[in-house]
């Protein structure tokens, strides 16, 4: 097991998560860990909002990322800046993004919360806290999604909406991590996990 961990680290160092080797020392304080039921609960089959028609439009969404937390955080900071959103850290893994313009229903405020599945597999939940829902959705669709594209593996519910997109993202992913064995080896980091 020890040997595998060392090998995994050297594979990681070669890849795009090189900085994270050092970055591990600067990892943010403990991110909330998702247990099996947290993950299972993400299913669209449990989202009964659909029963009520389009009336209750989505105020939250999630994406999966293969990047380490430090990379995701930097990206969020970079994107917030370019969208002129103020970014504030609330708790371990929770960031508040705030717009300055007073929209129809007050300033737009968005939560972005990072959850850890493994050190190189995270789920980020993006949800509207305050402000106009349509403004929020516009920001997510037109600004956030394109800007976050290079750290996003797949957005929740994407499969139904855009059949093409996940495949494209997965292709890009494969380009950066050419060996599928990197999926295997990266999980041996789990020994540090427990």
């Amino acid at each position: 097991m020890e040997k595998q961990v060392r090998e995994a680290n050297s594979v990681e160092a070669g890849g795009d998560s090189g900085p994270s080797k050092n970055g591990e020392n600067h990892e943010p304080p403990q991110l909330a860990n998702l247990n099996a039921f947290d993950i299972i609960g993400l299913s669209a089959g449990f989202d009964l909002a659909g029963l009520f028609g389009d009336v209750y439009s989505k105020q939250e969404t999630r994406f999966a990322s293969r990047k380490p937390a430090s990379v995701i955080i930097s990206k969020l900071e970079e994107v917030s800046k370019s969208l002129k959103l103020k970014i504030g850290k609330q708790d371990a893994g929770l960031f508040k993004l705030e717009g300055s313009n007073e929209g129809r229903k007050g300033a737009l405020s968005i939560d972005a919360e990072i959850f850890q599945v493994t050190q190189t597999f995270h789920l980020v939940e993006v949800k509207k806290c305050n402000g106009d829902t349509m403004e929020y959705q516009k920001l997510v669709e037109e600004d956030l999604r394109p800007a976050l594209a290079d750290i996003v593996l797949v957005w929740q519910g994407e499969k139904e909406k855009h059949e093409e997109l996940p495949r494209v993202l997965q292709d890009e992913q494969e380009e950066q991590e050419p060996s599928s064995s990197s999926i295997e080896t990266s999980t041996s980091n789990m020994t540090q996990f427990a």
Binding site: A36, S43, L153, V154
Partner: protein, 213 residues
């Protein structure tokens, strides 16, 4: 209030009385009437028989009546209280009641326990959780190695399976939920409080209720 009191509710022939349903749930009579409007539209979408079948349920949830989903199946099975393969109006209201913001923690905890106890053994076994986890990953097109999946299961069972028998019983589940309240997030639909605004029943009735209050 006088004679416009909401107990002068409409009857829904062939369906349970809204006053009775309101008395047994967190919904008011007007809210039950609003749910009836919703029920009507879902239950007539494929077969107009006053009952929601699996296809109609799938159509409502996914906008695709052929879309199969393990978890939607579980929800359907639990809503189908009498195990008839269809959901009637009484089942619909009573089941949605559990998702009401005012429903008790106990009711929500019990519902999730039965939800995840897929084979109805009275225990949530590790194999069941593994199956559900794999189904979710498949649904979301996320790939995790077997090692990682086992690790997630190990961690979860270490937290939840206190007597280490490889399965989670009702008591262990209750305690686990208390420690991890976010597990019940799927069990509350906040907009059930606004249901009369979204699905007004007969304009006459809703105007009357507004005047009465």
């Amino acid at each position: 209030m006088g004679c416009f009191h909401s107990t002068a509710a409409r009857e829904f022939p062939g369906h349970e009385n809204p006053v009775k349903l309101a008395s047994e749930t967190a919904f008011s009579v007007s809210e039950v009437e609003a749910l009836y409007e919703l029920f009507k539209s879902i239950s007539s979408s494929v077969v107009d028989d006053g009952l929601i079948n699996k296809e109609e349920f799938q159509l409502a949830l996914f906008k695709n009546r052929k879309k199969e989903n393990l978890f939607a199946n579980r929800i359907f099975d639990l809503f189908d209280v009498k195990r008839k393969g269809v959901i009637d109006f009484g089942d619909f209201v009573r089941s949605l009641n559990v998702f009401h913001p005012n429903a008790s923690l106990e009711e929500k905890t019990d519902f999730t326990f039965r939800l995840y106890d897929m084979d109805c053994t009275g225990f949530i076994e590790r194999q069941e959780v593994k199956q559900m986890l794999i189904a979710l990953l498949c649904e979301s097109e996320m790939k995790l190695a077997d090692d990682t999946i086992e690790m997630i299961l190990d961690q979860t069972f270490e937290d939840a399976d206190v007597d280490r028998d490889g399965k989670i019983d009702k008591t262990e589940w209750s305690n686990f939920v208390i420690k991890n309240p976010s597990l019940l997030k799927i069990m509350t639909l906040p907009y059930l409080r606004d249901i009369t605004t979204t699905f007004p029943s007969f304009v006459f009735n809703s105007e009357v209720d507004e005047i009465a209050t």
